[in-house]
Amino acid sequence: MTRRQVKNSNFDKIELNHNTNIMSENNFSRRKFLGGAAAIGAAGTLGFGPLTSCSSGGSQGGGNFDWQPREYNFPPLLDQVPDGPVLKAGVIGCGGRGSGAAVNFLEAGGATVTISALGDVFQDKIDSCREKIKTERDVDVPVENCFVGFDAFEKVIDSGVDIVILATPPKFRPEHFQAAVRAQKHVFMEKPIAVDPTGIRQVLAAAKMADSQGLKVVTGTQRRHQHKYISVYKELANNAIGKISTAEVYWNQNQLWYRDNNPDWSEMEWMIRDWVNWCWLSGDHIVEQHVHNIDVANWFFGKHPVKALGFGSRQRRKTGDQYDNFATRFELDDGRQILSMCRQINGCDNAVNEIFHGTKGKSFTDQGGTAVITDLDGNQLFAFEDHDTSPYVQEHKDLITCIRQNIPFNEAEATANSVMTAIMGRVSAYTGKDVTWDEMMNSDMKLGPQTYIMGSVGYIAEAKVPVPGSDE
């Protein structure tokens, strides 16, 4: 049990109605208590981790509530990071998100952290990132610690940093993550953390290696660091809506950005500058963006789906080889389902949120608005407004706190599973077929060119937008 009590969080006060129940004489007779370490361990779990131990079976109202006693490692969620020696971070991938993450990191740690190295494949990205860090947070990154090229990541890792922030296009993430772990660096890496099963397995193995080294890993799934989402999670864990039967998860938004080709750019340069439109670099938008919502479903269900059937298409995307819409049904091993949609098309009505249907009610969450839990008749039971701290900053506070207080914290495996779920949905849409988790886990799919050179790689000439099914 690694959960920490957090002083300034108001969620600890949630009524824990089965706590007394669990600790009663019936359940812990003397004989049982003497029965061995296992029983004592269980007592510890139940006693100290009330929020994660709702094992009441069918005894509570609402029928067969089945939230198993789960070990969920909540982030510390401190508003103020503990003091400590200055932590130096290096940013690998200095585009929009890398620069944003760097600033979030500096805001989270204040004077106790710094950015000491930058790496990217493009000099202009390094320059703009360096300038942003200077103007917004008044931190100077030494020029000699700015590295350009496909091997920049190694130089940043070796530059004497404590933490690396990985924010390149996700295709490169597994290799970078593995290198960072082997160099024993703490990691903040942006989701998605891979685009294909080969990459997922690399991340899973490196995640285990990170655990064995006591490294802390946060993965940019910021909803897991957002007070509002955690409140809803805790309510659901306390049987607010009974047993969850179905989830709906959506990310329907406008067209994302794109870059037209430029005669001065090589093939590789164009693809990387336009990376959110190329499947081998981004994993397509079901992986790159929608994984956020899919991750919430996996988080709340406490497991990942084992099967997907979906479809999708390309209607108005301007560049690249991706789709711009997907609709997928994911199935859990117990038959429960997650319905998923994502779209990046202008001029449509949008929705980015998650809905969980339970036997006693439902919950509604989205990143911007108010989270609401209602009963079956639509009466509001709970509502949660957002906390002051941005989740994009909070996730860095949590990383810094866990490093300074040596709290075990590693999100890589959970995020890898959510990304794999999204990949499974993508493959189903591309092929039109049922795709299973085992097939994905045993797949040798590896997207993109074999070697990375800033030149012509013969990818675009071969690239095709997948068309499922047949004319027969």
């Binding site: 082997r182 024993q184 193995a205 490196a206 080294q213 797949s443 040798d444």
Partner: protein
């Protein structure tokens, strides 16, 4: 008197408790010492007379460790303390003491005991994990990373020794890598055949593989009809062997023996290529006979270090066996293929309707107790014909160890199990019509029929009618590659096959 003693003890209760306390401590210390003293390698060796195991242990990485720790017998061969250590220790010492007194350690089949199948009964996973708690150390390379990830995802089904069998006892022949040298030490300086055999009638012939030194005997199998399956009264019968149906089989040729390593290596040498990476299932069509690509180099030792030559080739996948037949057809200009299940059983019976093609019932040949061995039938008869668990030393044998069946075929029963081309179904015979000719089994299925039992089988499974099937998942369980090999099985060392040749216009049919 007694009361006085009681009251004395009451008065001196503290003394009594103190003495008891000291006594308890002394007993604990000494029992701990005894347990420790009887757990040293030297004490193990007092009863375990197996100098080869001691030697191989001293050569292993667990003796001469990088960090200077000595790993003793009991560290691996008993569970960790607190996890059944004492119980297993008592069990093991009782068994070992019995063996020491009543048996001769030279009679034990040490080679079989160090095979994975038997080793799993005396090597405890919990003990491996107790020391090797971190499966992902920084020193682990990427292949190890993949393999250990695979392990963590299949922990229930896998043991450490699936891959690290020789970690505790060094085996100079064990190979834990891609075996690119496999088959390279071929026969030199022998005359090679230029032509395949010419066959003009339905009679036995010797096939020769052009460009190689390999030849093998083919037996002409006359056509006829027979009852497939076994009667309900047959001993050790399984339900999938019925109901019996009478069916017709056209004439064909069948190899006298299971495909030998010599023949298989001719195929491997001619078709294998190093470095292909596209061998995933479905990437190649069986019809591409002009450019047959054969197996990739195996991982480890496909022959289990039992030797090549005339021993049956084993551990190939069904796909490999089929590809072999395509290749053999191409180089000999005949039609070679795997037998159908009906052809196989027809050939195995050689006209007999009894459990075996020789006299006797399964119960006659079962391992017998003392009385049984005095009065029962002798096992000499079955030993003449079949290599099975009682006489095999748990490995395959060569064809000269057994006598042939009425059709002149050897090792149809026992030795290595053989692929048939039919899909397996429990009710194959139910759906079969009396009087059918050359039936080919169910139209579709998931596993193929295998027949004949193997060197691991008991008397019941080496009957002519006994049926079995492939196990696609289990037979590849520990293959760490993604995708898994389509050529070699990582977890089945008892499967082989036998070719049949069609009697058609290429072989003299008018």
């Amino acid at each position: 008197m007694f009361n006085r003693l009681i009251s004395f003890l009451r008065k001196k209760i503290l003394l009594v408790i103190f003495i008891g306390f000291i006594f308890g401590i002394v007993v604990s210390i000494y029992s701990y010492k005894i347990i420790e003293a009887t757990s040293t390698p030297e004490s193990c060796e007092m009863c375990h007379v197996h100098p080869q195991a001691t030697d191989s242990w001293k050569l292993s990485v667990h003796y001469n460790t990088r960090v200077g720790i000595h790993i003793k017998c009991t560290d691996c061969h008993l569970p960790p303390k607190g996890e059944g250590y004492l119980k297993e220790k008592i069990k093991a010492s009782a068994r070992d003491f019995y063996g020491y007194v009543f048996k001769d350690s030279a009679d034990f089949n040490w080679e079989a005991k160090s095979s994975l199948e038997q080793a799993q009964h005396h090597v405890f996973k919990a003990s491996c994990v107790k020391c090797h708690a971190n499966l992902f150390p920084l020193t682990l390379n990427e292949k190890g990373q993949d393999a250990h990830l695979y392990y963590t995802q299949h922990e229930e089904e896998l043991r450490c020794i699936n891959c690290h069998l020789n970690a505790g006892h060094y085996d100079p022949n064990a190979l834990h890598a891609k075996n690119v040298e496999f088959g390279n030490a071929g026969v030199q300086n022998q005359e090679k055949y230029n032509e395949p055999a010419k066959v003009e009638s339905l009679s036995n012939f010797t096939e020769s593989i052009p460009g190689t030194t390999v030849s093998f005997e083919m037996k002409a199998i006359p056509g006829g009809s027979f009852k497939i399956g076994s009667p309900e009264t047959e001993q050790m019968r399984e339900t999938d062997e019925g109901p019996q149906k009478t069916i017709n089989i056209n004439p064909f040729f069948m190899a006298e023996v299971e495909v030998t390593w010599d023949s298989y290596m001719a195929f491997y040498t001619a078709t294998a290529a190093e470095g292909r990476s596209t061998d995933t299932e479905g990437s190649r069509k069986n019809l591409d006979v002009d450019a047959i690509s054969g197996p990739t180099p195996p991982y480890g030792q496909p022959d289990q270090n039992w030797g090549l030559g005339q021993r049956p080739a084993i551990t190939m996948s069904y796909h490999s066996a089929e590809t072999y037949c395509l290749w053999l057809s191409k180089v000999t200009g005949k039609t070679y293929r795997l037998p159908t299940e009906a052809e196989w059983e027809y050939a195995a019976r050689g006209g007999t309707e009894t459990p075996y093609f020789f006299v006797g019932n399964p119960n006659d040949f079962k391992e017998k107790g003392f009385l049984g061995s005095l009065f029962g039938k002798s096992s000499d008869l079955i030993n003449q014909y079949i290599i099975f668990e009682e006489n095999s030393n748990l490995k395959t044998g060569t064809p000269d160890e057994v006598e042939a069946n009425p059709f002149g075929l050897k090792n149809m029963l026992g030795n290595a199990a053989e692929y048939c081309s039919d899909w397996y179904s429990e009710d194959t015979y139910k759906n079969l019509n009396d009087g059918a000719t050359n039936p080919t089994g169910p139209i579709s299925g998931e596993e193929h029929v295998i027949r004949g039992g193997s060197f691991k089988s008991g008397v019941g499974q080496v009957r002519s009618a006994a049926r079995d099937h492939t196990q696609s998942v289990a037979w590849l369980k520990t293959d760490p590659q993604i995708p898994k090999s389509i050529w070699w099985l990582s977890d089945c060392n008892y499967i082989s096959f036998r070719v049949v040749c069609e009697f058609d216009e290429k072989t003299g049919k008018k």
